[in-house]
């Protein structure tokens, strides 16, 4: 058979190339061109002079981020929150999916499932309104309730450690429905025969869940886990920014790489520093994914991301 080159392919399948072209251009401009801008991380950027005319400073930006302890703090926060999201999010979603799948009243099942999915649809701006409504010092629901019980109000917006819990709770609240539906779908896919057979053998409901349902969810769990690990350095920017905003009191407990980069760009205009932090985030994430993928490949090829 004659070997055919790219040009030949381009001519014979020109319609398909044409159909794919917009997508290729889109990712070229939106994702690949900006990669060149990584160079800013090594400059003291001046918006007027453009890409290659800003003074080159080597690793100065990184050095500053490192010695000031910013990078360490941001990394720990980003990884810590994401780990909590992944673990708690999956446990809660699996538990709810299992319980929901055992309910016998159809309309109740449908209704509660819809209600749990609802928070996924609202914007993060509304989420910040909800947080304000619940927790602001003067009129928030929490403090109103505390006052009625004649207890002291809590100044939530000035207490960093509370936000560690609140951010995780809001995340769970918003994403529960989404991941639950995915688990529920896998449970629906389990053949009834397993359960019938287990019943015959005298397995009770807990044993059936433990020995049949949960093991059958492993595939879905691993899949979701891998997707989550892939973006573990990119953390839920909207969630953090809308809940915390520019409230500096809370930064120590709540700042993640994304919020830091956004603020450096919008508030302090420190382009070089922001690019450096962004590049660090990208590199760290990239290496992490490659490592995870490599390990998974060694253990079980089928689960590997690519």
């Amino acid at each position: 058979m004659k070997k055919k080159g790219f040009l030949h392919e381009l001519v014979t399948n020109r319609v398909m190339f044409l159909m794919l072209l917009p997508a290729l251009l889109f990712f070229l401009v939106n994702s690949y061109f900006p990669m060149v801008g990584i160079y800013y991380a090594f400059t003291r950027f001046d918006f007027n002079t453009g890409l290659f005319d800003s003074p080159f400073v080597g690793f100065e930006n990184f050095k500053y981020l490192w010695t000031s302890g910013v990078l360490m703090k941001l990394t720990m926060n980003t990884l810590g929150y994401n780990a909590a999201f992944i673990v708690l999010g999956n446990v809660l979603a699996i538990a709810c999916a299992v319980l929901l799948s055992e309910l016998r009243v159809k309309w109740f099942k449908k209704l509660t499932q819809s209600v749990m999915f609802l928070p996924y649809f609202i914007s993060f701006v509304i989420l910040s309104v909800i947080a304000y409504n619940l927790f602001n010092y003067e009129s928030g629901f929490l403090n109103t309730a505390l006052k009625q019980l004649s207890m002291n109000p809590i100044d939530v917006y000035n207490t960093p450690w509370i936000w560690v819990i609140l951010i995780i709770l809001f995340y769970l609240w918003k994403n529960l429905g989404y991941s639950m539906v995915i688990y529920l779908a896998s449970i629906t896919g389990i053949s009834d025969e397993y359960y019938e057979a287990a019943k015959m053998d005298g397995a009770n409901i807990f044993q059936r869940i433990w020995y049949i349902t949960l093991p059958m969810l492993k595939n879905t769990f691993v899949m979701l886990l891998l997707f989550a690990l892939g973006s573990i350095m990119k953390g839920q920017f909207d969630l953090f920014y809308q809940l915390i905003g520019n409230n500096g009191v809370l930064y120590n407990a709540t700042d993640i790489l994304d919020t830091y980069v956004y603020r450096s760009l919008k508030v302090t205009f420190d382009i070089g520093m922001a690019t450096a932090a962004g590049l660090y985030q990208s590199m760290f994430g990239f290496i992490l994914i490659m490592t995870v993928n490599y390990i998974i490949r060694r253990i079980n090829d089928e689960y590997a991301l690519f």
Partner: protein
């Protein structure tokens, strides 16, 4: 057939109903709180705080929102326009790309798939992207910037590719080719018709992202008349916070003249309204699409 009442089953059922009810209520609770607050007299909120049921009913909050309706309606218009154009445009590009990338006779499909997938692994980060759009594409304060960056994500392209692969039998494309149909014609006549559930799901993802977008406005829009709804809401919230703090600091009681608390909540309801209204209809497709994706995955 009557199954013998087995051990633990009853108590498990009771427990399951209780827990699920509780969680569902927790999911609903913040919505009820906001709706209630939007219907409460402002003085009542300032004096006694937010309650689950209004202590003193009032529509003043909503009246405030629509006292100068031009701005709200304008922001609505911008959001509706970007959502419609973005979703339709995005669907067109994503389905085309997905179709080509799953065609077995398209030799470079894996190369190009990886070209798209790679952007989820590594990127330039926010700042170079920002400079690209503002300095080199000069898109600041244009409607285009609200639509273009959101048209495609690698995730949606891959989702669509997998969906088309499972929904459209290869033989069908083969036989259409033999009958002399061109590639675009096959896409338009066959693939699109057979992929409707996938298109609905991806369309919903796109529409939701456009509708809830505040980030793009915050980065690239300075002209107030081009604010998207969510960013408009965000600004109103912050402005009112500012008014409140100014009032408290200077001892001038601005708070009583402008019903800020109830207006904020009314504003939130007005902005969320369409989603709450459409939700019951839309949710079904979403669940279906996710279900298909999960089982196939």
């Amino acid at each position: 057939m009557k199954v013998k009442q087995e051990k633990y089953y009853r108590s498990f059922q009771v427990g399951a109903y209780l827990i699920i009810t509780l969680i569902a209520l927790l999911c609903l609770f913040p919505f009820l709180l906001i709706i209630s607050a939007s219907l409460t007299q402002n003085e009542s909120i300032v004096r006694d705080g937010y309650h689950l049921l209004p202590q003193a009913w009032s529509l003043e909050g909503y009246r405030m929102v629509f006292r100068f309706p031009e701005q709200v309606l304008r922001a609505y218009g911008v959001t509706i326009m970007t959502t419609v154009l973005g979703t339709l445009g995005g669907l067109f590009l994503i389905t085309m790309a997905g179709y080509v990338l799953q065609r077995k006779d398209f030799k470079y499909r894996n190369v190009f798939s990886f070209y798209i997938y790679f952007t989820t692994l590594f990127g330039g980060g926010l700042v170079p992207w920002y400079i690209m759009i503002t300095k080199y594409l000069q898109l600041t304060d244009t409607y285009a910037v609200l639509i273009l960056p959101g048209l495609m994500t690698p995730f949606l392209v891959i989702l669509m590719k997998n969906f088309i692969r499972s929904a459209v039998p290869e033989e069908l494309i083969e036989s259409a080719k033999i009958d002399g149909a061109g590639d675009f014609r096959i896409y338009y006549r066959i693939v699109l018709q057979l992929s409707m559930p996938g298109i609905a799901t991806v369309g919903l993802f796109l529409a939701l992202a456009y509708w809830n977008d505040w980030f793009t406005s915050s980065l690239f829009i300075n002209d107030q008349s081009k604010f998207q709804l969510q960013y408009y809401l965000y600004n109103v919230m912050n402005a009112m916070q500012f008014v409140n703090q100014m009032g408290a600091g200077s001892g001038v009681s601005l708070g009583t003249d402008i019903p800020t608390e109830s207006t904020k909540m009314a504003m939130a309801i007005v902005v969320t309204g369409p989603i709450l209204f459409l939700y019951p209809f839309v949710q079904r497709y979403f669940v279906k699409g996710l279900t298909i994706g999960a089982v196939k995955g």
